[in-house]
Symmetry: C2
Subunit: 326 residues, 2 copies
């Protein structure tokens, strides 16, 4: 699996460098504080997957301009803006190995810096001069904010259904992946079929990516019970592994599992017992299988494009989304 990651990173090395440069340039640090706070979250080792998808999507559709890296920053800024507001909403403590911004500074600073990053993203979107791109960005912001609110409403709710979960992760994650891929195609002036194929690729990739992320919460660092394990559970977020397991569990197991949701001080033993139940009642396997289905669909959507190194990378990224460990 390390081979796949290394292969992707080698193939996109120049793109990642261009994206990194553009992220710093476009931050446009009128004010030191913004640069610091935004920098804290923007330059803390993110994968840059969202901007990369836009850049690759544009290239796949034959984009020949010089603005791909610059426009791709939209998707990292929107992502960072959401993280800043999310961490406040979730009461999170750590993010990417650093203390969250609303603790390093305060809630006000985190809120306003998030607003600033969102506004920067919009401004850059407006600079494309393409109404279809701007409409895509508007739709992303609207869906993401709806998803966040719904997630807040559903916190601690053990009756969340698989459909509701899918809608949540679509708003929370897939819409941004989808928008990045779509924007790449739009920038390149691709025809409607290609725009739609890349949009669909992004959607399925995003859904699978989030399912894989939700799995990590129960499978990562299990031996050491590292601080990241069980974070969703602690925050009262029901995800697919548990939704599926709850639907299959015996009444006794169901109430044992439900009792841990939103309980911030569960013990190691309780968490181990929970993950065993998730395995026993098929929650882990089902989630893995669903993520795999979406990856297959994502890759299938790329069939409309002729074979090329860029298509290969997008295929590899889809495969990697499924097997990544962090």
């Amino acid at each position: 699996m390390i081979d796949l990651k290394q292969k992707i990173l080698a193939a996109v090395d120049d793109d990642l460098k261009a994206i990194e440069k553009a992220l710093a340039e476009n931050l446009n640090p009128y004010f030191d504080l913004v640069a610091q706070v935004a920098g804290h979250i923007l330059f803390a080792g993110g994968k840059r997957l969202r901007p990369l998808l836009m850049v690759l999507g544009a290239r796949l559709c034959g984009y020949a301009g010089n603005h791909a890296a610059r426009f791709s920053t939209i998707f990292e800024y929107l992502h960072a803006a959401t993280l800043l507001h999310d961490d406040l909403v979730d009461g999170a403590v750590m993010r990417r190995g650093r203390q969250v911004a609303n603790r390093v500074w305060d809630n006000s600073t985190a809120v306003l810096t998030g607003d600033f990053l969102l506004a920067r993203g919009l401004s850059i979107a407006a600079d494309t001069g393409l109404c279809a791109v701007i409409q895509t960005i508007a739709q992303i912001t609207e869906n993401m904010s709806q998803g966040e609110i719904r997630q807040l409403e559903k916190r601690g709710d053990t009756t969340l259904t698989e459909d509701e979960y899918l809608d949540l992760i679509r708003c929370k994650t897939a819409i941004l992946f989808q928008g990045a891929c779509r924007t790449g195609a739009l920038l390149a002036g691709a025809g409607i079929a290609k725009v739609q194929s890349l949009t669909d690729y992004g959607n399925h990739l995003g859904l699978a990516f989030q399912m894989a992320d939700d799995l990590l919460d129960y499978t990562q660092d299990l031996a050491s019970l590292g601080k990241h394990a069980g974070a969703d559970l602690r925050e009262g977020k029901l995800t697919l592994p548990m939704i599926h397991a709850l639907s299959r569990a015996t009444p006794t197991d169901r109430s044992r599992m439900s009792a841990l949701l939103g309980k911030p001080d569960f013990t190691c033993a309780e968490f181990v017992a929970l993950t065993e139940m998730l395995v026993r009642h098929g929650g882990i396997a089902y989630t893995q299988a669903q993520a795999a289905v979406h990856i297959r669909m994502a890759k299938q959507k790329l069939q409309v494009f002729s074979d090329s190194p860029t298509r290969d990378i997008l295929m590899d990224i889809a495969d990697y989304a499924l097997v990544r460990k962090a």
Copy 2:
């Protein structure tokens, strides 16, 4: 003065009703919570001045479409989004006679609902299909968020200059007034000269409006020392009346005035003494004069349009901004 207010209200009665209807319709309450929280701030007796300016600006430029009220909601949604985040940042307690949303609900809800309203505004802007409108909205959000951050940085700073103050109120208030007027002209397909004139009208009106607002903090309810008086002072916000008075005051008075900035528990006697110093050192009169200058400039910008009932209302609104008591 009541005559002027009544005259304006009578002239725009139908417009205000259409705006009110569109505000509820476009809120598009997918989720009860959003509707409640957004409704709390949106339907608490705002003046709807920003959407009204867009509607009147469009009419002045001959807009013949049916979407003025709908598109005008952008400016009330952006305004409400800013208020939700501001109240959290300022630690405010009351807004428009109601408890602020982040106290009725919580910080998370206020942040996410603000994000949702901003996203709704963007979505409606994208629906215009006019890139120039969308660019205007993107510029508004960027300027407003910059202004908010700068205001937070400058809180309690007694060295704030008049130029810095002007830049703050431009970002905080004038940019939205200006954007609303500009969007009206753009919707109507007005030529560049008319677009610029209405943009300038909105800018000067917004600056004067904020100066008048800042004056109210020191002149409103002074007899009763109502809870709104001195709010800026309490929050550490230096505004023009005090900036100017500080520049003219004796060293003794200057340190007495400075000592009260950002002091939440000043006494009635201290506040009365402060306002007396603001009068004595010319802060009140200077601010009134500056606001009057901007109103004159705003009205002058309307000269490019031929005489019409709509132009009269915009003139009246400019006059009213200067003399309003709330």
